[in-house]
């Protein structure tokens, strides 16, 4: 297949061949014409010489011919014999008769015939004839109208060979010089053509590369601000016509999300101080956001100053969505693993609850024994609540609430959970340091970090093994930290060590990269350790990895130690709460058991309790009730009417109404903007009776009277 480049090269070669041929032909023609011209000039000069020789002789010959003085004629023609060009001559009379000639070389008989005599009788000057390379000159000698005779001369170009050699040398030299020039010209043309072709081909490749990419590539002159190049992907990525952006670069940011406007416009429109990367959003016509990732690189001139900027912009919306989906998927993956282990615990818990409850109902035990039974039931329920709380922390998008905690406490709380995740073929060993320092973390996030590490360790030990979790107070060598956030030597570390397959040396540096996974396709998201790294860094800490292939992996989390005391003790203390008596409480809860527990607790606290299964029923009962409603305890998510809506309706009739939202879901799942902050409280399920009473008391209920 002939490519356009090949055709161009062939055309170039053809052109060069034509040029060389034309030049060579021209040279040959010039040389031929030159030789012919020189030859002609030389022969003409020979003719002139012959004519001059005869004309010089004309007058003396006339005198000698007049008297037929042969001796004088011979004397006159002696000079002719000394001329190298003269090869023959004869002097003839008026009747053509030979009178004197060159004896060494003679003309054939009858050289002067009657016809030539007739010509000579009227000829004004000498008659010149060319006979091959020789010249014949016939000069008539006339006096008083009478032809006395004449002289016939034959000349030969004796100098011709030498002159021809000189000519040949001259034109050969000229031809050689011209040929060298032609070759030089051809080479120069060829190089120029090749250079042009290479340049065009290079430019074409770069253009094809730039224009086939999904990313927008642009080149901008920093001094003038003009866009020198903009690839066609502009319309797809920026959503703006290319011609408009070329005319006015600011056009590309017309759809910029207002929250991203400041930084992006400053960096893209003004002269950038350095190379940078940026992510920003563009808003589609339908209101959806499109994420753009843009990388700007400065081109530096000889003086070290940036003079151009090269940019590459990419639509990363899909990637962003994928990241979010994968994050959630990873959480759900963990949740799924948890569910398997927790179901076993719940069954055990429920067995205990059912057992003690049944004993209490059927055997009517003594008060001490009944108290023991009820305690066992409560403790089982509390363990169940903790398990569900942990499940929710993975499933919900929780707000980060860093608190000062002790990692030993947190570990203790999730230890059982971790055992469930690891399974029975992996031994879990925990080594809690004495007097372990406190750290400031979000307990939920930290639990996820540990969970991710444990899950990874389990994956590294498919045939079973041992997992050790150890906490220590550590002085950190800051020079060896992996990240840049850790700036404190006094740290608390938690180390997760497994006896699994280890990490190959070549991938040890990449384990925290997003989407990097050594597992088979479908086996992992590649986000687990990345999330760990992000959370730990967010907490000002660092993670160190020490993996040796075939021996195992050691992951050490370093967190800055804080001197403050732990904020949240999870010690279970039976509360003794002073409950203000009096007032009316309206309960809206679609779950019967929860509604019954809340009614019982509030009844005992002295409230007049009205219980409803949903919002409309609550409104109906409120209308039927005579007197004020002081407290509304409502589930957030209910069929028919949501809790916040119900609260809003009731507030219209009861301005001093206090509201306690109870929900099994996230705190962000409702909005109570119409209520003053001090008028509302939130209580997450599951909760203990004293948790309910504490929240009610915090609401500072305004009681009647």
């Amino acid at each position: 297949v002939t490519t356009p480049g090949g055709r161009r090269r062939a055309s170039t070669r053809t052109l060069l061949a034509v040029v060389l041929t034309v030049i060579t032909a021209t040279l040959a023609l010039l040389a031929t014409l030159g030789v012919a011209h020189e030859k002609s000039v030389y022969l003409r000069s020979l003719e002139d010489k012959g004519v001059l020789m005869t004309e010089t002789l004309q007058e003396p010959l006339a005198d000698a011919l007049y008297f037929g003085d042969i001796k004088r004629l011979r004397h006159l023609t002696e000079a002719l014999q000394t001329q190298p060009e003269v090869i023959a001559y004869e002097v003839f009379g008026g009747d053509g008769r030979l009178l004197v000639d060159s004896e060494a070389s003679r003309f054939p008989a009858g050289a002067i015939d009657s016809g030539r005599l007739a010509d000579l009788a009227t000829a004004e000057r000498a008659i010149v004839l060319r006979v091959g390379q020789q010249i014949e000159v016939v000069m008539p000698v006339r006096v008083g109208g009478r032809l006395l005779g004449g002289v016939l001369l034959r000349l030969s170009p004796t100098e011709w060979p030498a002159q021809r050699r000189a000519l040949a040398l001259r034109y050969t030299s000229l031809g050689a010089v011209a040929l060298l020039l032609a070759v030089g010209l051809a080479l120069a043309l060829s190089r120029a053509f090749r250079a042009t072709e290479h340049l065009s081909e290079s430019e074409r490749r770069l253009r094809q590369l730039a224009e086939s990419m999904r990313e927008v590539l642009w080149l901008r002159d920093l001094e003038s601000g003009h866009v020198l190049y903009l690839s066609p992907a502009c319309e797809e990525v920026f959503g703006e016509p290319r011609v408009d952006v070329l005319a006015n670069p600011a056009t590309r940011l017309r759809r910029l999300h207002p929250e991203d406007a400041g930084g992006v416009e400053r960096l893209i429109n003004a002269e950038p101080p350095e190379n940078y990367e940026i992510e920003y959003r563009l808003r589609e016509a339908d209101g959806a956001n499109r994420w753009i990732f843009e990388r700007i690189t400065l081109l530096i001139d000889h003086d070290g100053r940036p003079y151009r900027a090269v940019g590459a912009a990419e639509d990363i919306t899909q990637r962003k969505e994928l990241e979010a989906d994968l994050l959630q998927s990873q959480k759900m993956d963990s949740l799924g693993r948890l569910a398997g282990g927790i179901a076993h615990d719940f069954n055990n818990l429920l067995t205990g609850v059912l057992g003690f409850a049944t004993l209490g109902e059927t055997r009517r035990p003594e008060p001490d024994v009944a108290e023991h039974h009820f305690r066992q039931i409560r403790q089982a329920a509390e363990r169940g609540g903790k398990l569900t709380q942990q499940l929710l922390s993975f499933a919900r998008r929780q707000v980060v609430h860093p608190r000062v905690v002790n990692l030993n406490d947190l570990l203790r709380e999730i230890e059982e959970l971790l055992r469930r995740v690891l399974g029975e073929d992996i031994e879990l060993v925990t080594k809690a340091a004495r007097e372990l320092g406190n750290v400031r973390v979000d307990p939920g996030q930290f639990e996820q970090v540990v969970m991710n590490l444990v899950v990874n360790a389990r994956e590294a030990m498919p045939d079973g093994g041992r997992l050790t979790i150890e906490t220590t107070n550590t002085d950190v060598d800051l020079g060896g930290t992996q990240g840049r956030t850790l700036d404190q030597q006094d740290c608390v570390s938690i180390t997760v060590t497994d006896t699994g397959v280890g990490i190959p040396e070549e991938v040890a540096g990449r384990v925290f990269e997003p989407f990097f996974s050594t597992k088979d396709q479908g086996g992992g998201t590649g986000l687990g350790l990345a999330i760990c790294y992000g959370i730990v860094n967010q907490s000002g800490g660092d993670i160190r990895v020490d993996g040796r292939e075939g021996i195992g992996t050691r992951m050490q989390i370093l967190l800055p130690r804080v001197r403050a005391a732990a904020e949240d003790s999870r010690e279970l203390v039976l509360p003794v709460i002073a409950i203000p008596r009096g007032g009316t409480a309206l309960i809206a809860e679609d779950e019967t058991d929860v509604r019954a527990v809340m009614k019982a607790v509030l009844d005992e606290a002295g409230f007049e309790v009205i219980a409803a299964a949903d919002g409309p029923e609550a409104l109906r009962l409120e209308r039927e009730h005579e007197g004020p409603i002081h407290l509304l305890v409502t589930d957030v998510v209910m069929p028919k009417m949501r809790g916040p809506q119900l609260a809003k309706r009731l507030r219209e009739r009861h301005p001093n109404l206090r509201v306690l939202f109870v929900s099994g879901y996230t705190e962000e799942s409702f909005s109570a903007r119409d209520l003053a902050e001090e008028d509302i409280a939130f209580l997450a399920k599951p909760f203990a009776p004293h948790d309910l009473l504490r929240r009610v008391r915090e609401l500072s209920i305004v009681r009647p009277g």
Partner: protein, 320 residues
Amino acid sequence: MRSRRLPPSSRPDVRLTILALSLVAAAGCGEAPREAQTLRPPEEAVARHEVIVIGDIDPDTPARRIRHLQPLADHLAERLADQGIRRGEVVIARSIDELCGLIEDGSVDLYSDSIFPSMMVHRRTSTELVLKRAVRGDFSYHSVILVRADSGLSTLEDLSGHLIAFQAGYSTSGYLLPAAALRGLGLELVSVDTATRRVSDDAVGYFFADEENTITLLLDGLVDAGAFSSRELEEIPTTLRKQLEVLYRSAEVPRQLFSASPLLEPSRLEAVHRILVELNGVTLGDERLPWEWSFSELSDADVESLALVAELARDLEETP
């Protein structure tokens, strides 16, 4: 028509003529005379009586002489067409003898020459002296002998034992008149081949040179005297002329004579006379060789001078 024939007493003797011709031949030619060839274009063939022929003597440059005279011959032929003349020709002889032969056999009708050869031919063939002809505007001239002003020579006799340079042997002014004058004084003329040769005190050595050489030889002291025509004397540059002195001046003689063959028909002679007189300054010939032709009748003085020349010629011929 006025034509002059010298009186019988002045007709030169034939022997003198032969001597003079011999001298001329010895001085000017050096080769045996041979019959002149008349080469005619092959396509032209006319009868003799239809041709008018002018003769002259020039052994060296006959072509030039022909080109000079041919326009006059053509003019005459044209004017004589009514007398049956169809062409004019010029015949150049190498010597007086040859010319005399051509006149005598009827090959030449007219003859134009300076006076000395004209008188020679006249004496031998009885040509008719028809007219005198001007040369460069002069109908007559004379001869002079020049010596250096400081030479101490004051008379012709003083030239005894000295050298004189003459011009061509047939030149009237350059040789014949001055030589005749010297001989008339009884001085012997001895030909010498070099200017260094000494001659006896009672003789005058001579040799021939052209005009310019004669002046140079004279001024350089290689010769003691030189013969010139009066025209040549006028043309000598003033600076040179001051160094020279005229030792002898001859009588005035006609410059050229135009003679007619005794065989020419009278009617044609009369017509020729008329035609020539009518020319009177007319230029004939092409631009390469124009010539102003003027003819005049011979005056009595001319006749007398011609008689003198005839005597000189006879004396010269009779000198051994």
